[in-house]
Each structure stands twice: as structure tokens, then as C-alpha cells.
């Protein structure tokens, strides 16, 4: 088919399109996170002592840090769905932020776990369950980001997929943080980071080659 024939075919019966809006995409992701939190609350899975815990430095570090990380990584992912944008800068900021939060966490006194042995503080069995739960909780956000990526036009698919994975992992960790009874920053640094890395790798693997322009 010649280019002229293709142009005639494409322009025949042209339908109006709704312009992609990054704000709308962001609102959809935020709504999904809020819905998950509301669902946890409705099912009675929220941390029972949330009222008191929210005032502690540990909880503020955990929730504040995850909100920041989720925000930055979601912004990087959503921004990269436009063909002219790249997620490189956003990803760099998100990775630096995650590192900074981990270091900051080491300076926060763990609530009642000072003298415990390392293995006891890490509690591997609970930690793995937490990581697995974060992975499951991050799946809806991953699915939504995949749909948004498909509707967008990312020109650096690998980096976009990486940003989507990181964003889904951070959102999953943020939602799960409302239910997680752990009070030790070391536990959060190790297991939440492991879960986020797992989801990021999964996103990179699942989404990178799926979508073509």
C-alpha cells in the first residue's frame, strides 16, 4: 500500500479522541490505592493501634517515606507514557530517595527492639509473609499502570516498565503499611525493600516488551 493510500484510509471516518492527561492517570492510581486501603479497613485488616502509632517517629518515617517514594515513582512512570518524556530523571530521584529513606530509618529508634538479636528483629518468616503480601497488594496498581502504559506512547519501554514496577511496589508497600504490625525500621528496610525490588523486577520483565508504539 502506498503512503497516500494509507493516509486516505487513516483519515477516512476519523473519530474524535480524548486527549491523554497525566493528571487523570495519576488520579486513577491514587483512587486505586485509596480503594485498597478502604477495602483493608472494611475487612478489619488495619493495624488496631493505628491511632496511637501514627504519632510515632517510626510511623511518620514509614508512611511519609512510602508516600514520597510512591509519589515520585508514580510520577516518573506516568510521565514516561508521553513519547517526548523519559523516566530516567524520575527513576534516579526515586532510587536516591529510597536509599535516603533507608539510611534515615537506621537512625530511628526501633520501638522496643533495641536489645534484640538481628535474626529476631528481622523475623524472617513474618518478613517473607509481609513481602509476599506487598507483592499481592501491588498487583492491582501494576495492572492499572500497565493499562495506562498501553494507552500511552512510551518511547523507552524498558525504563517505563521499570518505573511502573517500582511505582506498583511502592504503592503496594504504602497500602500494606497500614496493616503491618511491625515496629522495627530494620524490618521495614529489609522486607519492604525486598518486596519493592521483587515487584520492580516483575514489572520490568512483564511490561517491557508487551507494548509497541
Amino acid at each position: 500500500m502506498s503512503s497516500d493510500a494509507l493516509i486516505r484510509r487513516l483519515s477516512a471516518d476519523l473519530a474524535p479522541v480524548r486527549r491523554r492527561s497525566a493528571w487523570r492517570d495519576a488520579a486513577i492510581v491514587i483512587a486505586a490505592c485509596m480503594l485498597e486501603i478502604a477495602l483493608f479497613r472494611a475487612l478489619g485488616l488495619m493495624r488496631p493501634d493505628m491511632g496511637q502509632a501514627i504519632g510515632s517517629a517510626y510511623m511518620q518515617w514509614k508512611l511519609g517515606g512510602l508516600v514520597l517514594l510512591a509519589g515520585v515513582s508514580c510520577a516518573a512512570a506516568i510521565r514516561s507514557f508521553a513519547p517526548t518524556a523519559s523516566s530516567r530523571a524520575g527513576l534516579s530521584v526515586a532510587i536516591a530517595l529510597a536509599g535516603g529513606l533507608a539510611v534515615a530509618g537506621l537512625f530511628i529508634a526501633p520501638a522496643g527492639a533495641h536489645g534484640d538479636a538481628l535474626l529476631e528483629r528481622l523475623s524472617p518468616l513474618h518478613g517473607m509473609l509481609c513481602a509476599l503480601s506487598i507483592l499481592v497488594v501491588s498487583l492491582p496498581v501494576m495492572g492499572i499502570l500497565a493499562l495506562l502504559m498501553r494507552r500511552g506512547a512510551p518511547t523507552h519501554q524498558e525504563r517505563s516498565a521499570l518505573a511502573c514496577g517500582l511505582a506498583a511496589g511502592a504503592c503496594g508497600a504504602l497500602v500494606f503499611a497500614f496493616c503491618c504490625p511491625a515496629n522495627d525500621p530494620l524490618y521495614v528496610i529489609v522486607w519492604y525493600a525486598a518486596a519493592c525490588l521483587g515487584v520492580t523486577a516483575m514489572g520490568r520483565w512483564l511490561l517491557a516488551q508487551r507494548f509497541r508504539l
Binding site: 503512503s3 494509507l6 487513516l10 483519515s11 471516518d13 479522541v17 517526548t84 494507552r151 518511547t155 508504539l213
Partner: protein, 201 residues
């Protein structure tokens, strides 16, 4: 009331030609307005836009791809423009948006060339136009300089000059599997290099 962007396009120049240069929108600004109209479902504006984009894309790919790949790349890009037209943000120039898509298609096309089996070229191949080939060869030569000599040599022999793997193996003294490996690695390196390069036409 805000005027429809199309109205500004169909305005006729004043008979006296007053301020004609100022009133006449630049081609890029015109493309922006045509795309906005196309997003609103105006087929005529869209046809005109694609008609103007096609030669631009033709020139873009002629400088970057072997002649046989240019038409495919142009049509692939036009299809991508059509499928992703809702992602164009009117706050930014269309040309940057188009160049980003074209660059992606260029990379895809290069990957496609790498995957495709290569046939030897016939000796009596007719060549109609040298200019595009010379330009394309210049760009390709500068790209090949980014590679190791062994990789550049086998890519030039097999992918550009049409040698078979066996002929290239005889020519370079390398084994056939080494030739294939050098081609594979060289093309991967080229693709990575192009992806890292900020190339906005």
C-alpha cells in the same frame, strides 16, 4: 468565544498582502493546529497533516536507513501517529512529539534489520537515486565508528554489502559463528547507542 483552530488555517491572505509574513503560521505551528483539529475528529485537517508529515518522515528515514527500509518506516510511523494521536499534548510542539515517535520507529526498524536473514545482492542491481544512499551511508558510517573494528567490518559486509555469512567468514578470516556473534553484538551496541543519543530532528 475561542475560534476553532481550523478557522485560522483557512483564512485567506489579505489581497494587499499586508503583514503576510507575520500572519502566515510557520509549518510547525500549522502542524500543531492541524493535529489539534484532528484530535477533535476533523478528517480533512488530519489528511492534510499526514500528507505534510509523510515527506518529512521520508527525509528523516532516508538519512538513517537503507533505501529499502524507508517506506516501511514511514508507514509504520504514520500508523503509530494515528494510533497514539491522543497522546499529543497541544501545549508542546508536534514536531518534538513526532521526532520521538520517529526515533522509536527507527530503532525498531534497525532491530528488524538485525533479525532478518540477509540475502546476497545481485550484481545487476539498479540504483536510481544516489543522494539518499550517500546520506544514509554517511550516517551509517559514523554509527559504525562507534563499534569495534571487527563488528563494524562484518556488519558492513553482511548487512550493507550483502555478503553471506560464509563469504564474510572467508573475507575476514573469522569463523561463521564468530561473524554471527559480531553482527549480533554490534547491532545490539548500535541500538543501545542510538537509544542513548538525544536525536531530535
Amino acid at each position: 468565544m475561542r475560534l476553532h483552530p481550523l478557522l485560522t488555517l483557512i483564512q485567506r491572505p489579505s489581497p494587499r498582502g499586508e503583514g503576510q509574513a507575520r500572519a502566515r503560521p510557520s509549518p510547525c505551528a500549522e502542524w500543531d493546529r492541524l493535529m489539534i483539529a484532528a484530535q477533535d475528529g476533523h478528517g480533512g485537517a488530519y489528511r492534510r497533516l499526514l500528507g505534510e508529515l509523510a515527506p518529512w518522515l521520508q527525509r528523516y528515514f532516508e538519512r538513517r536507513l537503507p533505501p529499502g527500509e524507508v517506506d516501511d518506516a514511514v508507514q509504520e510511523t504514520l500508523l503509530a501517529v494515528h494510533r497514539r494521536r491522543h497522546t499529543y499534548d497541544p501545549a508542546y510542539p508536534l514536531r518534538a512529539w513526532l521526532a520521538a515517535i520517529a526515533k522509536r520507529k527507527w530503532i525498531d526498524q534497525l532491530r528488524g534489520i538485525g533479525r532478518r536473514p540477509t540475502d546476497a545482492l545481485p550484481d545487476d542491481l539498479a540504483i536510481s537515486d544516489h543522494e539518499a544512499m550517500v546520506t544514509s551511508a554517511t550516517v551509517l558510517a559514523s554509527l559504525l565508528e562507534q563499534l569495534r573494528p571487527a563488528q563494524a567490518q562484518v556488519i558492513a559486509l553482511v548487512k550493507l554489502q550483502g555478503y553471506t555469512i560464509e563469504d564474510a567468514s572467508h573475507e575476514t578470516g573469522l569463523s561463521a559463528s564468530a561473524v554471527k556473534m559480531n553482527i549480533h553484538r554490534g547491532l545490539a551496541r548500535l541500538t543501545a547507542f542510538i537509544e542513548k543519543t538525544d536525536d531530535v530532528e
